[in-house]
C-alpha cells in the first residue's frame, strides 16, 4: 500500500498524470476515489475489499473524467483485461493513461466490511478462482508482493454452470425465465460494465424497437440475451454486473458460459494483450460448424 501511495504521489507531483483513480477506505468497504492533489495519495488503499473495476471510468462518454487530464488508473489483473478491450475497440489510446497494476490474490464476495478480511473458501468472490492474469503485463507499474492464488470457493462458477448444463432443457428454461423475470431493467449491469460504452445502447434504439423496454419477461429475456451476446469474447469476468444487480440475477453464470463457448470453439481466452483480436469479428476457415446442416 505504501508503494502504491508513493508511486501515486510521484506521478502527480511530477505531472505525469493529473488524476489518480484508485480506491479509498469508506468505512464499510472501499470505494473509488479521484486524487488530484499529491497529498491525497495517502487515501489510496488496496485490499480484499477493492472489488470495483475502475476501468468503468475510462468510458470515453465520460467527458468529465477526460477533462481532468491524463489519468493514472489502479488496476487488478481482471481490470487490465478490460483496458485491453477498450484499446482493441479504439476507445482509448495507450498513451492517454498510466496503468498502475497491483498484484491481487482475490477479493471478497461481500466487500462492505469496515476492514479487509483475509480470504477463505466461504468469503472469496467465486469469479477470482482460477485467475489467469495475476502478473498483468499491460501495466506501466506493477506493485505489491506476489500473492497466493485465490482460494477455491465452496462452489466454483464452473461447477454451477456444469450443474445447469446437466439439467434438462425445460428445467433450464424455467430457471432462466424466472431469473430474468426479476429484472427491473435498471441497466445497472450495463452502466457499470467497463466494456459497455456505447453512446446509444441497442435497447434504446426505437426505430425499430428490437428489444422491448418495459420490464416484463419477454422483453427482459431479449435484453439479457442481447447483453450476453454483446459480451461474448469481451467480458473480463470482473463480476461487477452481478454485484450491482439489485435483484440478484446470476449474471456470472451466463458470462462464464459464454467464455466457455468461445474457449471451446475458438480456443479463445480474454487476455490483457490488445493485439490479440476478439473472437467475434474474427474467423478461421475451419471454425466448428457441427450445428449447421
Amino acid at each position: 500500500m505504501n508503494e502504491l501511495r508513493e508511486v501515486a504521489r510521484t506521478l502527480l507531483t511530477d505531472g505525469t498524470v493529473r488524476v489518480i483513480i484508485g480506491w479509498e477506505d469508506a468505512r464499510r468497504g472501499a470505494r473509488p476515489v479521484f486524487v488530484t492533489d499529491p497529498a491525497g495519495a495517502d487515501k489510496l488503499i488496496f485490499d480484499t475489499r477493492c472489488v470495483h473495476n475502475l476501468v468503468t471510468y475510462l468510458n470515453p462518454r465520460r467527458d468529465n473524467v477526460a477533462e481532468l487530464g491524463k489519468i493514472g488508473l489502479v488496476v487488478k489483473g481482471c481490470d487490465a483485461k478490460a483496458v485491453a478491450g477498450l484499446l482493441r475497440e479504439a476507445q482509448l489510446t495507450r498513451d492517454d493513461i498510466v496503468l498502475i497494476g497491483v498484484r491481487c490474490g482475490g477479493v471478497l464476495e461481500e466487500a462492505e466490511l469496515p476492514e479487509a478480511a483475509p480470504l477463505s473458501p466461504e468469503n472469496v468472490a467465486p469469479r477470482c478462482y482460477g485467475c489467469d492474469n495475476r502478473e498483468p503485463e499491460l501495466v506501466d507499474h506493477l506493485l505489491g508482493e506476489s500473492q497466493p492464488e485465490p482460494p477455491r470457493p465452496v462452489m466454483t462458477i464452473d461447477e454451477r454452470v456444469a450443474a445447469l448444463d446437466g439439467q434438462a432443457l425445460e428445467e433450464r428454461w424455467a430457471f432462466w425465465t424466472e431469473q430474468f423475470s426479476k429484472c427491473v431493467r435498471c441497466y445497472a449491469c450495463r452502466q457499470v460494465c467497463p466494456l459497455c460504452v456505447c453512446e446509444r445502447c441497442v435497447v434504446e434504439k426505437s426505430r425499430p424497437q428490437w428489444i422491448e423496454a418495459s420490464p416484463h419477461p419477454r422483453g427482459n429475456l431479449s435484453w439479457n440475451i442481447t447483453r450476453a451476446l454483446h459480451l461474448a469474447g469481451r467480458c473480463v469476468d470482473c463480476g461487477e454486473c452481478e454485484r450491482f444487480c439489485p435483484v440478484g440475477i446470476p449474471l456470472s453464470l451466463v458470462n462464464r458460459k459464454l467464455q466457455q463457448i468461445v474457449g471451446e470453439r475458438y480456443g479463445y481466452t480474454v487476455s490483457d494483450d490488445p493485439e490479440t483480436p476478439a473472437p467475434i469479428g474474427d474467423y478461421r476457415l475451419d471454425d466448428k460448424q457441427e450445428f449447421i446442416k
Binding site: P60, R61, E89, A90, Q91, V197, C198, E199, R200, C201, V202, K205, R207, P208, W210, H230, P277, I280, G281, D282
Partner: protein, 675 residues
C-alpha cells in the same frame, strides 16, 4: 402516408392454378397503407407494366409490390416501369409467390394463405423503403498495369487501343517477362520472341502507354476510380532521354563475368547491361551491386576506380549519381500482372517449402530447370541454340525430363498442379530430338495434362513422331556418377525400378508467384491465397476481378497459366477496365451501408469485418473545428452491400440501405402469428 399498389400476377396458370389470386387481392386491398390492389394474367408483359404505370399515376402511389415470380427474374423490369412512371425505382419490390409458393405446394388453401403472408410481408417492407438515388463517383480514366510480361503488355495494349492512358510498370530493365526467355512455344512451336517482340515494341511506342521499367509500385492510396499511386523509379545510372542504345558501354565494361539472370545463370553479362538484345527499351541499367566503381564507393575509396562506361558514352548518358525517384500518378483502375517465378528446387526454400535436395540441383551442374533448358534451346542463348550440357559443353546423348518437381506434392508444400509443365516437357523433348537426332529423351511423368486446343495432339507427337520415351513413375534420386548423371526412378506400369545413365536432366519445376507479391497485395488491399497467388473475386464468374473494387488480375500471378490463358485474362481485364471507364461517373446500386455518426463510437468492429476495406476511421469535429472524437465511415464507392458491418455493430449505428433494420423488422412483424 404510404400509398402502396399491390399487383398480383397469375403468370398464366403458373401461379393462378395453385394460388387464388383474387383472394390475395381481396386480403390486401384494405390492408393499412395499401391504396390499390389488382390482379392480372401476365404482369411482366407490356400491358401488365402499363397497368402498373397507370396505377402509379392515377393513385399517387408511393410504393409498388408485384406479387409474382422471383425478384431475380423481374425486379429490374418492374423497377424500370416505376421509374418511367415517375416513381423512384427503389420503392418497388417483388413478393415471390411463384418459385417460393405456387410451384412448390399443392393445396390451394395453404398456398393462398402463404401467398397472402408473403405479399403482406413485402408490403410492410415497402412502407419503409426509401427513394434512393444511384451513387455516383468520378472516375479517372487512366489505368495502371503492374508487370510487363505478356499479360501486362496485352492488358496495356487493349486499354490503350481503347483510347485510355496506361501507366505500365515493370520491375526489370526490360518488358517481356519470362516469355522472352522461351525459345519456342507450344502447341505450335513458333518462336517466342518472334511473336512477343512486336507486341513489346507496340507497347513501347504506343502514344497512350507510359512505360516505366526498372520501377516498382511504392504506395497505393484511394479507391476505385480514384487511386493515387506512387511509383519508385529505381536508379538506372543511365539517362533514358539521352541514351541511344548503341551498346558501347557494355563493350567497354570490365566486369564481364556476372551471371546473367536472363540466361538463367547459364550465361554471363556485364555490370552495365541490357538484359537481352531485343530488350524494350533498349536502354541499359547499371547493376550497382556488381559494378567495380560502386564496389569502390562502398569501400569508401577516395577516388572512383572505374568509369569506362561513362568515358565511352558519346551521348553523356551515364550518370553515377542518380538516385531512386518517385512519381505520383492518378489512376482509375489497376491490373496486376506480375507473373511467376520457378520453384528453386534446392534444399533451402522460402516460406515453408521443402526442397528436393535428392535431385542434386545446384550440386550437379547438369541438372537444370525448364527455363535453363529454354535458354540452351534458344538461338540467341548462351550456346547459340545447341543443346550442350553446362559441365563440359558436350552434347548430351541421353536427357531425362522429370515432371512434377514441387507440384502436386503437399509433403513438400505445394499441393497444386502447375499446368504447363506436361506441355513444355513434351516441347523440350521434341526440341531436343530435333537438334540431337540420335539422342534419347526420357520423361518421368505422373499424368499427362494436355487439355488445351491442340495440346493432346502436341504431346502425343513428342512420343509418336519424335520418339520420346515416357515412363510413368517418380524419380527418387539424381546424382553424379563419374561422367554420367544417374537417375533412379520407377516405372509403375511395368512395376520395375529404372536406372538411367543420363548426360543431362531437366526438372519441370512448379510455377510460383513472384517474390514481393504479398507485399504488393497488401498495398493494393487484395488478398492472396496460402501459396501467394492473388485471389480472384469468384473462381468461376469473376476470374479477373479481385475483391477490391477497381483492381483486376491477369496471368500467372493468379494461378499457373499458359500463354493463351494469360492473354485471354489480360484482354478480359482490358474489357473490365474499359467498362469502368465508359462513363465519367461510376454508377452504383445504392445498397450501401451508412453510419449514424451521432451514435457511432468508433470502435471500428465494422471495419474489421468488411471484406472490401470499405470502412475507415474518420475524425469528427465540433462546430469550431476542435476534434472531439472519431467515428466509422463507409466509402459508398467501395461498399458492396453485405451488411456484415451492421450485424457486428453493437449499438446498431450503421444501416445497410435496401435492407435496413426498419425494413426487416416490419417483415418479421408482418408475419405476426397471433390469432
Amino acid at each position: 402516408m404510404s400509398r402502396v399498389g399491390v399487383f398480383v400476377c397469375h403468370c398464366g396458370e403458373n401461379i393462378a392454378r395453385t394460388v387464388d389470386c383474387e383472394a390475395v387481392v381481396e386480403a390486401l386491398k384494405d390492408h393499412p397503407g395499401v391504396a390499390f390492389a389488382e390482379d392480372y394474367k401476365y404482369m411482366c408483359s407490356d400491358p401488365g407494366q402499363q397497368l402498373v404505370k397507370k396505377a402509379i399515376e392515377e393513385n399517387d402511389l408511393t410504393g409498388v409490390v408485384v406479387a409474382a415470380c422471383s425478384p431475380h427474374m423481374h425486379e429490374k423490369t418492374f423497377r424500370r416501369a416505376c421509374d418511367q412512371a415517375g416513381l423512384n425505382q427503389y420503392m418497388c419490390e417483388m413478393a415471390n409467390v411463384r418459385e417460393h409458393c405456387s410451384w412448390i405446394h399443392e393445396d390451394r388453401g395453404e398456398a393462398t394463405a402463404k401467398a397472402i403472408d408473403i405479399t403482406r410481408t413485402i408490403v410492410e417492407k415497402v412502407k419503409h423503403n426509401k427513394p434512393l438515388e444511384s451513387i455516383r463517383i468520378p472516375v479517372t480514366k487512366r489505368a495502371l498495369v503492374i508487370g510487363g510480361g505478356i499479360a501486362g503488355i496485352q492488358a496495356a495494349l487493349d486499354i490503350a487501343d481503347g483510347g485510355h492512358e496506361v501507366v505500365l510498370v515493370e520491375k526489370e530493365a526490360s518488358i517481356g517477362g519470362h516469355m522472352s526467355q522461351l525459345s519456342e512455344t507450344f502447341p505450335t512451336l513458333d518462336c517466342s520472341q518472334c511473336i512477343l517482340t512486336p507486341r513489346m515494341v507496340e507497347a513501347y511506342q504506343h502514344p497512350n502507354i507510359k512505360l516505366h521499367t526498372w520501377s516498382e509500385v511504392e504506395k497505393v492510396d484511394g479507391y476505385i476510380g480514384n487511386f493515387n499511386v506512387t511509383i519508385r523509379k529505381k536508379a538506372r545510372s543511365v539517362n533514358e532521354d539521352l541514351c541511344n542504345g548503341c551498346g558501347d558501354c557494355q563493350a567497354a565494361c570490365p566486369a564481364k563475368r556476372i551471371p546473367s539472370e536472363f540466361e538463367a545463370g547459364l550465361g554471363k553479362r556485364t555490370a552495365i547491361y541490357v538484359p537481352f538484345p531485343q530488350a524494350v527499351p533498349n536502354i541499359p541499367v547499371l547493376d550497382r551491386q556488381n559494378c567495380t566503381l560502386f564496389k569502390g564507393r562502398r569501400k569508401g575509396l577516395a577516388k572512383d576506380v572505374c568509369g569506362k562506361c561513362q568515358e565511352v558514352c558519346l551521348k553523356g548518358a551515364v550518370d553515377y549519381d542518380t538516385e531512386d525517384t518517385f512519381i505520383e500518378e492518378e489512376i482509375g483502375a489497376i491490373v496486376v500482372a506480375t507473373g511467376f517465378q520457378l520453384y528453386n528446387i534446392g534444399r533451402e526454400q522460402p516460406e515453408g517449402l521443402k526442397g528436393y535436395g535428392e535431385y542434386g540441383y545446384g550440386e550437379v551442374p547438369d541438372v537444370i530447370d525448364g527455363l535453363q533448358f529454354e535458354r540452351l534451346a534458344s538461338a540467341s542463348g548462351p550456346t547459340d541454340g545447341a543443346i550442350l550440357r553446362p559441365s563440359d559443353g558436350k552434347e548430351p546423348k541421353t536427357v531425362v525430363f522429370v515432371h512434377c518437381v514441387g507440384s502436386r506434392d503437399p509433403e513438400k508444400g505445394i499441393s497444386y498442379c502447375s499446368k504447363i509443365c506436361c506441355m513444355y516437357n513434351a516441347k523440350h523433348a521434341m526440341l531436343y530430338k530435333h537438334k540431337v537426332h540420335d539422342g534419347r529423351a526420357v520423361a518421368f511423368y505422373m499424368d499427362i495434362r494436355a487439355g488445351g486446343k491442340g495440346y493432346d495432339e502436341f504431346s502425343r507427337r513428342a512420343i509418336e513422331e519424335d520418339g520420346a520415351e515416357y515412363i510413368r513413375g517418380r524419380v527418387s534420386r539424381i546424382f553424379r556418377d563419374g561422367d554420367v548423371v544417374k537417375v533412379w526412378g520407377y516405372d509403375t506400369l511395368s512395376g520395375e525400378q529404372v536406372v538411367i545413365d543420363a548426360d543431362m536432366v531437366v526438372l519441370a519445376t512448379a510455377m510460383r508467384p513472384q517474390d514481393g507479391v504479398r507485399e504488393l497485395a497488401q498495398k493494393l488491399s487484395v488478398s492472396t491465397d496460402e501459396h501467394g497467388f492473388i485471389n480472384e473475386a469468384h473462381p468461376k464468374l469473376r476470374p479477373v476481378e479481385t475483391n477490391t473494387a477497381g483492381v483486376f488480375v491477369a496471368g500467372a500471378c493468379q494461378a499457373p497459366r499458359d500463354i493463351p490463358e494469360a492473354v485471354a485474362m489480360a484482354s478480359a481485364t482490358g474489357a473490365k477496365v474499359m467498362s469502368l471507364f465508359s462513363a465519367d461517373e461510376l454508377e452504383r446500386e445504392p445498397a450501401v451501408a451508412i453510419v449514424n455518426e451521432n451514435t457511432c463510437i468508433g470502435c471500428m468492429n465494422c471495419a474489421k469485418v468488411c471484406a472490401y476495406g470499405a470502412i475507415e476511421q474518420r475524425e469528427i469535429c465540433t462546430v469550431d473545428g476542435h476534434v472531439c472524437g472519431h467515428v466509422a465511415y463507409v466509402n459508398p464507392g467501395v461498399c458492396q452491400g453485405c451488411g456484415t458491418c451492421q450485424a457486428v455493430c453493437l449499438s446498431k449505428s450503421v444501416e445497410l440501405q435496401t435492407f435496413t433494420d426498419e425494413q426487416i423488422f416490419s417483415e418479421i412483424n408482418a408475419l405476426c402469428y397471433w390469432e
